[in-house]
Symmetry: C2
Subunit: 415 residues, 2 copies
């Protein structure tokens, strides 16, 4: 089969997006539920396609952990289907009136939530993203324009084919879900340059993908970036609360972006807190500055690089500060703008940290691990934005929409 060129695929997605933009919630939910059902019915076909990817990955000597992320089992397919059912149950964001007012000349202006149009998602490895992303796009009235990795291409093609069949079955255009099967680097670059056809590009992957977006993309994009998250234990912290939060933020799931990577402690509690923390984090490698090391025997030395490193592993950098100002400055200087927490009982310190730290989410006496779409109550998320434009923090259905002004008059002209 000849490979369809990327611009032609983008045009198909754009045409479908016009229909999806005005599809009713009922129609979209029916498509989602039908897709969930069809994933169940065609599970064997999906697992078979996936086996080809898994075999190729093993032949290529890919690390077992990564191969496992790639693997589709009947349970994992069932989880994808259940994800689509969850999205069907969420409120439809489209049509929400965000604002409305009347001008002195009688013009009635309202700002109404509408779909973005074509949402392009470029992602690595895990094939469930194909279904999860398509589901969120569909519910929010967008066409999903997808480009997965070469390691998962057979799985992605199979999943997309099931989703397209389901959408077509309910009378919506099958191009609501368009997968670029060409996994070459050239196709990836082309994918980022469909200006006028793609309304928003969301990369889900590591630093090299982000660098490629910055270099090549000509379409608007939202960066789902790193999380170099800090927990600051203030002079007025309840140290038991601080320990509980630190342990949870660091160890509950170290491989994710909202896990803590750095501990900042006020000097006045460091002598009490650091030994407690070190004992509670027995399995975590600690690296610190001179004052932290003096309080915890065996702690390694933190280099300048450590302060801005997202370990995604059982490792934590530790810094002792003399003042709240120093803590805020250090966090702002090294933060990736994801999630930053303070533990304190002091209202003034809390207000200053929450007000002055520049991040998508700032937390008082709570674990950074809460910063995601599920925990925030959005029901599902497509990523967590660390940029400030358009979407900041967890991105749910609303963040896959834009607004348009609807202006109603009765013949007004400008004087």
């Amino acid at each position: 089969m000849a490979v369809t060129p990327v611009p032609e695929l983008a045009r198909r997605a754009k045409a479908a997006s016009r229909v999806l933009a005005t599809a009713s919630t009922e129609q979209k939910d029916e498509a989602l539920l039908t897709a969930a059902e069809l994933l169940g019915e065609r599970v064997e076909e999906l697992v078979r396609a996936n086996a080809a990817d898994v075999a190729a990955a093993e032949d290529a000597g890919i690390a077992p952990g990564l191969v496992d992320r790639l693997r589709l089992t009947p349970d994992r397919v069932a989880a994808m289907a259940s994800g689509l059912r969850q999205v069907a149950a969420l409120a439809d964001p489209v049509g929400e009136v965000l604002d409305g007012w009347v001008r002195p000349n009688g013009l009635r202006i309202s700002r109404v939530r509408v779909p973005l149009g074509v949402v392009a998602i470029i992602y690595e490895s895990r094939p469930n993203v194909t279904s999860d992303a398509a589901g969120l796009c569909l519910k929010s009235g967008n066409a999903a324009f997808l480009r997965g990795s070469s390691t998962a291409v057979h799985s992605n093609v199979a999943i997309a084919s099931v989703l397209r069949a389901a959408v077509a079955k309910t009378g919506l255009p099958e191009d609501a879900v368009v997968l670029v099967e060409d996994t070459s680097r050239a196709a990836a670059t082309e994918f980022m340059q469909q200006r006028g056809l793609v309304d928003c590009l969301i990369p889900r992957g590591g630093p090299s993908l982000i660098a490629s977006i910055l270099e090549h993309a000509t379409v608007p994009y939202v960066i789902d970036g790193d999380g170099n998250c800090h927990v600051y234990v203030d002079a007025a912290a309840d140290l038991d609360v601080a320990e509980r939060i630190l342990v949870n933020a660091k160890t509950q799931r170290p491989s994710v972006c909202n896990a803590a990577e750095s501990l900042v402690v006020h000097a006045s509690v460091a002598a009490d807190f650091l030994p407690m923390a070190a004992a509670a984090l027995r399995d975590v490698e600690l690296v610190g500055d001179a004052r932290a090391r003096a309080l915890v025997p065996g702690m390694g030395e933190a280099t300048d690089t450590d302060w801005s490193t997202e370990y995604l592993d059982l490792k934590l950098s530790v810094k002792v500060v003399d003042t709240l100002d120093e803590a805020i400055d250090h966090v702002n200087a090294t933060s990736s703008g994801h999630s930053e927490a303070i533990v304190t009982t002091d209202v003034h310190a809390a207000d200053r940290f929450l007000g002055e730290v520049d991040a998508a989410a700032v937390l008082l006496n709570a674990s950074t691990r809460f910063v995601d779409g599920e925990e925030f109550g959005f029901g599902a998320e497509i990523g967590i934005s660390t940029q400030k434009l358009h979407a900041r923090g967890p991105m749910g259905l609303r963040q896959l929409t834009t607004a348009k002004y609807v202006v109603r008059g009765d013949g007004q002209v400008r004087g």
Copy 2:
């Protein structure tokens, strides 16, 4: 004097932005009012600096119209000062609570409006943009990082110096306003690449500037794009209303982005409406399709290029369509996504056009000329966005902000 490198200037703006982010409304307003006063006091110095730019432009043989746009008179300086006073009188968007809810585990989440940080603006010709942009940035708690054109450099330096002095006088950091004096192309490219320091870049200029942004920018940006605006006269239009709106949209100020560039007429009223329209638009060059030309003697032929051209001049393309669907398809195919109007008395046609046309603003029975910040009641605008991410349509103070999640707990950890 040695030229300060662009990254160093960006760092200064970033440092200032930290202070501005938590400045009180009172402080910011005082800075704006002081700047307005100082512009008045130092008007001679401004006019003298501007004379150098005007002389250089005249020597270079720049067209008189452009030289006039460049010129500063005492009246124009007074208008800049009055603009700053107007911005001082607007409501401060910072601190607005956009949403708030409590999670089942007791976490209290709120979404709070905060400044973007450093807003970079690159602009052409008119020196008043220096003052207008700085004023809007200051009020919204952002540092203004500015890069004007070489033709206005003396004027811009003088204006920035007055604004910086005023800001410093009120105790805020003078780097709240930072102007890049280096007007080389290399400096412009560097200006677009201060990733990590610039939070939002807004270009104000023509297609070549936009192309340069798409090619070089690595910071997030909002495009203030073209306006290829249509007026669609429906089968059920009141033709007198249609004529009034069309004349206003086309001729009230043809050189701006919200002026109409194209007329689309339903075939059932074309024979009545087109001769009326042609008579009312005597000074406007009309080019049309075959059916339009058959109804208006002397009308030129529209080429494919015409349908997507923003003339910014007394010229209008004219198309006859058989159905509302054809009108919507034509508008969506050729629109630049700015402002699109329908004239009709038919509720069903109105709903379909307003719902299906994909633009920042859709209008019913009103002139496209109303789509700007002043007319929408925002008090002032920094541009009109034709992209869908972050800001769409007129950009006022709110569009110069982002949000952050503030999460308050009492020791919650994730299970």
